[in-house]
């Protein structure tokens, strides 16, 4: 990717000269990138058709919606927040597209209306988190159900399918001369913008500060609530947009479109080494995680692996992605702290490496 030179990754401690080279190699997002290349090479070598441009085009387009949602999700997770309602918002957007199209609206009217609904849904999440002060996990579990319910109210159990080719084509076709479908080209552009925002702007710096220590960010004059509110609104916006893309790509508007997709989004982001607790991670890592999941899924499908097994693989990857950076980190910090906390420890010692010390109850 074009960015992510900054070692904010899990093993970001350049602190000790001794641990320096290690930390470079052990950065989780880099490791995922290497794994991605390895999986790609293995797939190209073992599975015929895998590296063909038509398959790659298909495989890429298959992650378009997840990818578009994963970009703002990365920013949210870095800021210590999460939005679980995205797939339901996708479904709500899809229902609205279907219902309004059925009612005879033009596409040029439908798109802005649906996007506004997405922003409103995101603002609802953001308002509940910032003004009411609820944890985003709880809030968005609620709106996950709420939005999906609204989707069913809008469209019921029917499906709207007759979308004209003029609209469906652009989501299915490649940018001329490449194997990159238009939605993925859009994703790439937004990914670069997101990467710049996260890694090279004051807003990006603020996100890391909010994610690692919200109090300190607030005391430094950062508009914590406003930033969070905007993030949730953007997340809603992209989820609604992904709903439009999804509807056109499958040519079918249904209330249960994208059911459970939020888990794939979050799996991608976490697999890319973005810390669930906030404050750490790179956009490059998240994109690598996303591509890895997409390519694995494609490879497994090409090799006739059943969907159930694919789900299990994704699940294992997710567990692995949460577990491994922790293990890597504990190894490196132990290595570093041995070197660094040599004199008077400047900070109270972390409770973890000293189990059972009599005066510590933890």
């Amino acid at each position: 990717m074009a960015m992510a030179p900054e070692p904010t990754g899990p093993a970001a401690g350049e602190a000790a000269p001794i641990a320096f080279e290690w930390s470079r190699l052990l950065r989780w997002d880099v490791a995922v990138g290497i794994l991605l290349v390895a999986v790609f090479a293995t797939g190209a070598g073992s599975t015929s058709d895998f590296a063909s441009s038509s398959n790659l085009s298909f495989a890429l387009n298959d992650i378009a919606e997840v990818g578009l949602i994963a970009l703002p999700m990365t920013l949210l997770v870095v800021a210590g927040q999460i939005d679980l309602s995205v797939a339901s918002m996708l479904g709500l957007a899809s229902s609205l597209v279907g219902q309004l199209w059925d009612a005879g609206w033009t596409f040029e009217t439908i798109v802005p209306v649906v996007l506004v609904v997405g922003v409103l849904g995101g603002l609802l999440n953001g308002w509940l988190v910032t003004s009411v002060g609820l944890p985003s996990l709880a809030v968005t579990i609620g709106t996950l159900t709420l939005f999906r319910g609204l989707a069913s109210v809008v469209l019921g159990t029917e499906a709207v399918t007759q979308f004209p080719a003029t609209y469906t084509d652009w989501v299915r076709e490649d940018v001329p001369g490449t194997f990159v479908p238009y939605p993925i080209a859009l994703f790439a552009v937004v990914a670069v913008v997101t990467a710049v925002v996260l890694h090279a702007t004051g807003v990006g710096r603020s996100l890391y500060a909010i994610g690692s220590q919200e109090d300190a960010a607030f005391f430094a004059g950062i508009r914590v609530r406003r930033i969070k509110l905007v993030l949730f609104a953007v997340s809603g916006l992209f989820a609604a947009f992904a709903g439009i893309v999804y509807t056109l790509r499958y040519g079918s508007a249904r209330a249960d479109n994208g059911l459970g997709l939020e888990m794939v989004v979050i799996a991608s982001v976490l697999l890319g080494g973005v810390d669930f607790n906030g404050g750490r991670g790179t956009l490059g890592g998240a994109v690598a995680g996303l591509l890895l999941i997409g390519i694995l899924k494609n490879l497994l499908t090409l090799n006739d692996v059943t969907n159930e097994v694919q789900v299990i693989v994704t699940g294992l990857l997710l567990v692995l992605s949460v577990l491994t950076p922790r293990l890597v980190e504990s190894v490196t910090t132990r290595r570093q702290s041995r070197a660094l906390r040599a004199g008077d420890a400047p900070t109270p010692p972390p409770p973890s490496p000293r189990p059972g010390l009599s005066t510590r109850t933890g």
Partner: protein, 509 residues
């Protein structure tokens, strides 16, 4: 001083201990003897090796060279559990109790007395807790939840827990840093009682007067080396400081003469219901105004309302004549206000971020065009202020976690001074930092005031208040009760106002 020296071997001792971490030699040939019934102070600046020494005694570290002696016999602790079983207990500055368990449950966590079928014998737990509290001479209810206990009370619980293990050696790592005067007094009486029962105490504090009032012997470390072990009697504070820093310290309170100028900060009738009310004061350019009072008097809350992190219910704050909108730290910063908060680990710094990013955090709009952050500007800003404040660091990209407390405080100062404020509010600027760095922070504040900065300094450290302030404001129970000019400020006058003279004093935090 101690007759048992010659008769019995020390309860716990280190002999010729060295310990290295990679290239860093944390301890070099250090020896220490702790005797029963004696309170022994460990003095030294941050980075002198005190924590490593404690951890060696507590079984966390094993010495590379030298040995640990228990009752004169060499022992090897394979972990903290071994040390605990040998009767060594460590009390940390910030205890970690389970907030949702009662005091009694915390004390007996994991080793509750049992009745038949493995049921916990709650009566025995409570009864024993009661006995422990009586032994310590404190009245804490065994059934009270740990949540909401003051740090002082939490420490008492930790000490009670140590007693329940029959600890014979009590190691206290800066236990008083967050305590009020009366809490310190209570802690000391508890320690005295334990000492009278024959416990050996190792006590660490940056407050020299505490070493003199509590301890019989003091061992000084500097740069990992043993400097001296001697009776406290006959030492002066200056002697001890000289041993710690290895040179004569420049004046600890280098107050410069300044010309006092225009009003920079004006606070009028600021009120937050139930916290403070009708607080009015002014701070002028070039002036250091101290805000004194007991912990809990509302000083920090006033500062936070002035800066806008808390919303005031009424009143007005003006900076350079301009009224600030309520509850907007961003607007306060733009107007030239800066707040160095009391809790630097939680509020002052993002601990896992690098030095340069922490310093850059207050200037994200000014480090590049269009919201972009230019690395070179970010680093330049950090390097500039690091040099001005004599920050000791390895690399600017190191996380602030690895810095000592004093240097962390300098990063917080740097972060705020880099905003070029006209009014600086500092809340407990030197709490928990060593003597050498303390003097540097004082010198920096003094120089800033001389350059025309208006400084409002909240401090519970009376010598600091008297040494640094041009004027002392005193709060008591949410009210501003006194304004004392430098010439009339004495420990007595400030304390009299802080305790509300005729009203009841000694409120806990």
């Amino acid at each position: 001083m101690n007759k048992s020296d010659s008769v019995r071997p020390p309860v716990l001792a280190l002999r010729g201990v060295s310990k290295s971490f990679g290239a860093v030699r944390a301890l070099r040939d250090v020896s220490l003897e702790l005797h029963a019934g004696e309170a022994h102070a460990l003095a030294g600046e941050n980075g002198a090796g005190k924590s490593t020494l404690i951890k060696t005694l507590a079984g966390v570290h094993r010495p590379d060279v030298g040995e640990v002696l228990l009752n004169g016999e060499p022992v090897v602790f394979h972990g903290p559990k071994d040390a605990r079983d040998a009767g060594i207990a460590v009390i940390y500055q910030e205890p970690t109790l389970f907030p949702d368990l009662t005091i009694a449950e915390n004390i007996f966590m994991g080793r509750q007395p049992r009745r038949s079928l493995g049921r916990i014998d709650h009566r025995a737990v409570r009864r024993t807790t009661g006995e422990l509290m009586r032994r310590l001479g404190v009245s804490l209810d065994a059934d009270r939840l740990a949540r909401g206990l003051s740090i002082a009370d939490q420490q008492i619980v930790e000490i009670a827990k140590a007693l329940s293990f029959d600890a014979r050696v009590l190691i206290m790592d800066e236990p008083t840093a967050a305590l009020t005067g009366s809490e310190v007094a209570r802690l000391f009486s508890v320690v005295e009682a334990l000492r009278a029962e024959g416990a050996a105490v190792l006590f660490i504090s940056h407050r020299l007067e505490e070493i003199f009032s509590l301890c019989q012997r003091v061992t000084t470390l500097r740069d990992g080396r043993w400097i001296s072990s001697e009776p406290v009697a006959g030492l002066t504070e200056d002697d001890l400081v000289r041993r710690m820093v290895g040179r004569d310290l420049d004046e600890l309170y280098p107050k410069q003469q300044t010309t006092i100028g225009q009003v920079a900060l004006s606070v009028r009738r600021l009120t937050r219901e139930g916290v403070f009310r009708d607080v009015s004061f002014e701070v002028r350019r070039g002036e250091i105004v101290a805000l004194a009072g007991l912990v809990g008097a509302g000083r920090t809350e006033v500062a936070q309302a002035v800066f806008g992190v808390d919303r005031a219910d009424a009143g007005e704050v003006r900076v350079d004549g301009r009224a600030l909108p309520p509850a907007s730290p961003t607007a306060a910063m733009d107007a030239g206000l800066a707040l160095v908060p009391e809790d630097r680990r939680q509020r002052g710094l993002v601990m896992e971020m690098s030095i340069e990013r922490n310093i850059g955090l207050t200037g994200l709009g000014s480090l590049g065009r269009g919201g972009l952050v230019r690395r070179a500007l970010e680093r330049g800003r950090a390097a500039d202020w690091a040099a001005r404040l004599q920050l000791k660091y390895n690399r600017l990209s190191d996380s602030v976690e690895v810095l000592s407390g004093g240097n962390q405080q300098k990063v917080v100062l740097a972060k705020w001074l880099a905003t070029k404020p006209s009014v600086l509010i500092v809340d407990e600027p030197t709490r928990g930092i060593d003597v050498g760095t303390k003097a540097e922070v004082h010198r920096a504040l003094s120089a800033l005031a001389a350059d025309g900065l208006a400084v409002l300094m909240i401090s519970s450290d009376l010598p600091e208040v008297l040494g640094m302030a041009d004027r002392v404001l005193v709060m008591h129970e949410g009210l501003l009760v006194a304004e004392i000019p430098r010439s009339e400020a004495t420990e007595e006058s400030v304390m009299a106002a802080a305790t509300g003279r005729n009203t009841h004093s000694g409120r806990a935090a």
